[in-house]
Amino acid sequence: MENLIKVQDLCKIYNPGENEVRALDKVNLEINRGEFIAIIGHSGSGKSTLMNMLGCLDIPTSGSYYLNGKDVSAMNDNQLSEIRNEEIGFIFQGFNLIANLNAIENVELPLIYRGIGRSERNRLAREALIKVGLEKRMHHRPSEMSGGQQQRVAIARAIAAEPPVILADEPTGNLDSSSTQEIMDILKELHNAGRSVILITHDDDIAEQTKRVIRILDGKIVEDYYNN
């Protein structure tokens, strides 16, 4: 069976020329289905750039990226939108919920762009919100919820369409310790249910809770090991 993610010689260079910044320098990486991975590094190490590349939010300068068997590095803007919609569920540090939509409407968003009909959409969104324990907050707006609850809405949004990859960029960065643990528990559950979860973090304690850790420094992978 082929890899879920296969990255070869991936480079991202900002300001090409004299003052060029190699945010990613010939990164090679393979991730299988069902893995629970932490990509760890300091700020400026290139981990966010890697996350943007893996999430198809940005285009690499060179190298190839196969996601679920598809060559993503050669795709145009519209195709990338489709890939993001179908293959990836995002969880952001800043939640990135839309303020004037309530929880269930926020969760429905990727399903709308996928073209799923109303009743099916509603059912999937409810199921996802129940999975993250927000069955009593479905009609609340983001401003009416705590940070931890907002991030759970974001997780529900990421999993509602059942994408193969869940990509979480510092999902606990804005949260207190008890909310952090709640979110980590949910991510672990998702992993146990068979989902592939990629977590980007700078926090070793968080990384320890995953199965595999990839450490990145100056745009290069310097460590790649499995937790016990």
Binding site: L57, N78, S81, E82, R84, N85, N100, G115
Partner: protein
Amino acid sequence: MGNAIEYVKMALKNIIANKGRSFLTMLGIIIGIASVIMVMSVGDGTANAMNSEVANFGTGQITIYCSEDAVNMQEWITPEDLQALQERIEGVDGATPNDSSSGSTITGKGEFSLSLNGGTEAMQKALNYNIKRGSYFTAIDVEEGNRVCVLTDSDAKRLFGSDDVIGMDIEVTINNISNNYRIVGVTQQKENSGFVSYTYEGMPVTLEVPYTSFLSFGWESDSFYSVTVFANDKASGEEVARDIVHLMESRHQCAGENYYQIQSFQDIVSELNGMLAIVTTFISCVAAISLIVGGIGVMNIMLVSVTERTREIGIRKSLGAKTSSILMQFLAEAAILTIVGGIIGILFGLLGAVGACKLMTISMGSVIHPGIQVSTILGATFFSCGIGVFFGIYPARKAAKLSPIEALRRN
């Protein structure tokens, strides 16, 4: 495109969620459209009112006057010419000399200057008035040179404090010679003639008298500088004018000398129309400026609202929205806002136009109907809506084309 309903729903949700911003956007459109419709309608209505008034006032009037050459040669128009014009030219209803003099009178209300218009009984055709009391002076009065006069009810009130003055005498003094004129008729201004016959306090009191009555003041009326001929409705003014010149030239044996010249009322009307065209152009300029101002308002609010939603666009794109989906959403929003704003704007514009015309009708004593033109409404609406949609989509397109991480970074 099956998702069109979704986009409209999203758009409605956003419009309702951002009531303040939506209202401001619509306000720009409302003001732009309403002001143009109002200004144009009132302007057109005023122009139409003036036009129809002028048209009522002087159709069929042809004035003949002696040219400079004729004056030098002492060739005038005689009472016999007047008679001949009426008898020998087809389509002529009457003719009157335009003889005038000024004098003064003293009544219980004080001293007034007088303007005496001497003519025949045909002069009443030129009036923009109805007879209110008594009657106009007659052909017999003209023949006998009777000192009778007709005046307007407002002048009668100035002189005597009442318009019930039939049978009263006015002592008219011209060049230190005084004669009494008996009032035989009082006229009243016709409705809807506020522009043409506006009177004010300092104007002399106008008396209309038989031209033959001037004999009482020591001068004989046997030659006139100008006369006015009234053509009937069926006659072509141009033909009558040509016949008049022809007849006058043959009577005075001066063919080809251009002694007698014609000024028909048509000339005056076209002159007035020229002035109205200038007024209309001016009004159109004002309307164009308000359209541009309204358009800039719409543009600004659209630019701001899209710019402040760049992050939202980034979120939607990261979740899989295509550039075209984002555009559809913003297009739906802009379209709903401009359509609703446009309808409200049209309503306010029409109401405003009717209201302004009512006010003008009351204050000027002249009936003005708003000249509402469908082309104005459509033009203003399309222009404002076009600006609204364009500036709703153009920045949204720019934002949607950003890479999602860049859009997400913006706050």
